[in-house]
């Protein structure tokens, strides 16, 4: 699913990087809005949204926004409240329509820990160098 989500974000104009290492974790997808320079970290999970929510929590130290992405199976079972309460965005990917819907907008994080931010930007630069991301499709 992560590869399809990545393609959908690229179509939406983001610069997208996959498998970006950050501290003791690895972010599934980092999407950079080239207009605002905002950095969005996304954890994709087929089933275990709780684990995805836990994983994105640490990314808050380095990113402007964090979100989880789940397959669109049954919108009613999606963790809307949990995401809203924790300021985490919720994206649902529709495999049939190959489309990505933002169900909960992520809250803008107003303060990052600068060392973590620097690590993330360096990791993105390394991904660009290795061809593991970028704006090209």
């Amino acid at each position: 699913m992560a590869a399809k989500v990545r393609d959908a974000l690229l179509r939406d104009g983001y610069s997208v990087y996959s498998e970006v290492p950050l501290m003791s974790q690895c972010i599934d997808i980092v999407a950079v809005d080239e207009n605002s320079d905002r950095v969005l970290a996304i954890e994709c999970k087929l089933r275990d949204w709780r684990r995805a929510l836990t994983q994105v929590t640490s990314h808050r130290l380095a990113c402007d926004e964090v979100a989880i992405c789940l397959p669109l199976v049954d919108k009613r079972s999606a963790p809307l409240d949990q995401c809203q309460q924790s300021g985490v965005g919720l994206l649902l990917y529709d495999d049939e329509a190959d489309s990505l819907t933002v169900v909960v907008e992520p809250t803008l994080i107003d303060q990052q820990w600068q060392p973590a931010r620097s690590w993330l930007l360096a990791a993105i630069a390394a991904c660009q160098h290795k061809g593991r991301g970028g704006s090209e499709i």
């Binding site: 501290m23 003791s24 690895c26 820990w113």
Partner: protein, 452 residues
């Protein structure tokens, strides 16, 4: 060092030697696994004969031969299997039974006839008494050691051969273990007088069966030995439910009532507290490894990629760096160096690393990306730099020194209050699960009547 609790430090790999030397004033005894000693006897002889002059003991690791032999084999590049070299050396030292079984068949209780028991015990005792002695001691200390008439090559105590027991098999192993203990005592007396310790290695589930616990404690208490070294398979004090820790207390009380000192070979802060007089001095010593060794499985599980972890002093737990950084950042403790040292840690390693600048806390988490295959997909993780691991280790060792000392000097109420307060303070950040070990410890420790 404290009077109440012997602080034991375990040697894990050669790169740790310099930390054991650097922190020599903080611990009392060194512990080596027999396979390490078989693999690098010269390096270990130099370590025990350096200026620290620390007593040492050797875990004979005889249980290694009772499991499926695959656990002592290497899978070679050409697809063949061969006995690990250090295990092969041990097998040579331990006599005919182990030589014939190692890498081929598991040792079972019916193998242990009286002759075999005597041979095995003698081989295991001789290995511990003679392996370091047969090596060159640290050259620069030779004159000093001779002048002081110090025989640093002799272990502080010898450990009898032992086999691991779980709730289903203890009935099969209890008697052979006791006969090995008696044979080891005879061998020690004949070869060289020194203390004899029995190593009790048990499955965690045994701690949940009070009847079995009392039976084992009763049998071991009747053995002719100077103490017990305890190893509970994969017992993480941070993850163990209260019932398991209560079982541990039951076992320790039984030994205590028989005046038999017990040292925990794999323990953390909970064990340190159990060594305090205010909690009945149920343990006489606690051993930890170099940061990662507060619990260990009897049968080794895969190594995996080591993550940078930071020992959070107030939680008495190692946490992944990202989780610690988030916690400290959210609480405002990474604002400046002074705040960090006041709220988190002011050990020498933290002071040397931060140098007044809290953003340098990042140096405890620096890594380089490593890509590998897991479950058929490519995964990239940050592998800690050597310097990162060393900083985390130094911080851990400073904190351990402090734990052994401060636990012995504080009152029972203060120690329990600290745990309660920390749990309350951090539960809104980590959830009740993240602090549940502290509350479990408090609940279990309140059961301890120091007068009993």
């Amino acid at each position: 060092m404290t009077d109440s609790c012997t602080h034991l430090a375990r040697f894990g790999m050669p790169t740790e030697s310099r930390f054991l030397t650097e922190f020599r004033d903080s611990y009392d005894w060194l512990v080596f696994n027999a396979n390490s000693l078989a693999h690098m006897p010269g390096a270990i002889a130099r370590l025990v004969s350096d200026r620290s002059v620390k007593p040492y003991i050797v875990d004979p690791q005889t249980h290694a031969f009772q499991h499926d032999p695959i656990h002592v084999m290497n899978h070679n590049d050409d697809g063949t299997w061969s006995l690990k070299r250090s295990i092969a050396r041990l097998a040579d030292a331990y006599g005919p039974l182990i030589q014939s079984k190692a890498g081929k068949h598991a040792v079972v209780p019916s193998d242990l006839s009286p002759d075999v028991i005597e041979n095995l015990a003698r081989g295991v005792v001789e290995f511990q008494l003679h392996t370091v002695r047969n090596q060159e001691v640290c050259e620069e200390n030779r004159d000093y050691l001779e002048w002081m008439k110090l025989d640093v090559t002799k272990p502080r105590a010898v450990i009898a051969p032992y086999f691991y027991m779980d709730a289903r098999t203890y009935g099969l192993w209890l008697d052979p273990n006791m006969r090995l203990a008696a044979a080891a005592r005879a061998a020690v007396r004949e070869l060289e007088g020194t203390d004899l310790y029995l190593e009790l290695v048990i499955d965690r589930d045994i701690l949940l069966d009070e009847g079995v616990l009392r039976e084992i404690a009763s049998v071991y208490s009747e053995a002719d030995c100077d103490g017990i070294l305890l190893w509970v398979d994969a017992l993480s004090e941070q993850k163990a439910p209260g019932g398991v820790l209560t079982g541990l207390l039951t076992l320790l009380r039984e030994f205590r009532s028989n005046d038999l000192p017990v040292m925990n070979l794999y323990g953390g802060y909970f064990s340190i507290l159990l060594s305090c007089a205010s909690f009945g001095s149920l343990l006489s010593g606690v051993c930890h490894g170099m940061e990662y060794g507060e619990d260990r499985s009897v049968v080794p599980v895969g190594g995996g990629i080591p993550m940078a972890k930071f020992y959070l002093p107030s939680l008495h737990q190692r946490l992944r760096f990202g989780d610690v950084a988030r916690l400290l950042f959210n609480r405002g403790w990474l604002r400046d160096g002074e705040t960090f040292h006041r709220e988190v840690c002011s050990c020498q390693a933290c002071r040397d690393t931060l140098r007044g600048d809290a953003s340098r806390f990042s140096l405890f988490g620096e890594g380089k990306p490593v890509t590998f295959m897991r479950g058929g997909s490519t995964v990239t993780l940050n592998y800690p730099l050597t310097e990162t691991k060393e900083r985390c280790l130094r911080h851990y060792l400073w904190r351990k020194e402090d734990e052994y000392q401060s636990a012995a000097s504080k009152s029972r109420d203060d120690l329990l209050d600290e745990l309660e307060t920390t749990a309350t303070e951090f539960e809104s950040d980590l959830g009740v699960e993240g602090v549940s070990h502290l509350r479990t410890w408090v609940r279990v420790l309140r059961e301890v009547d120091p007068a009993r």
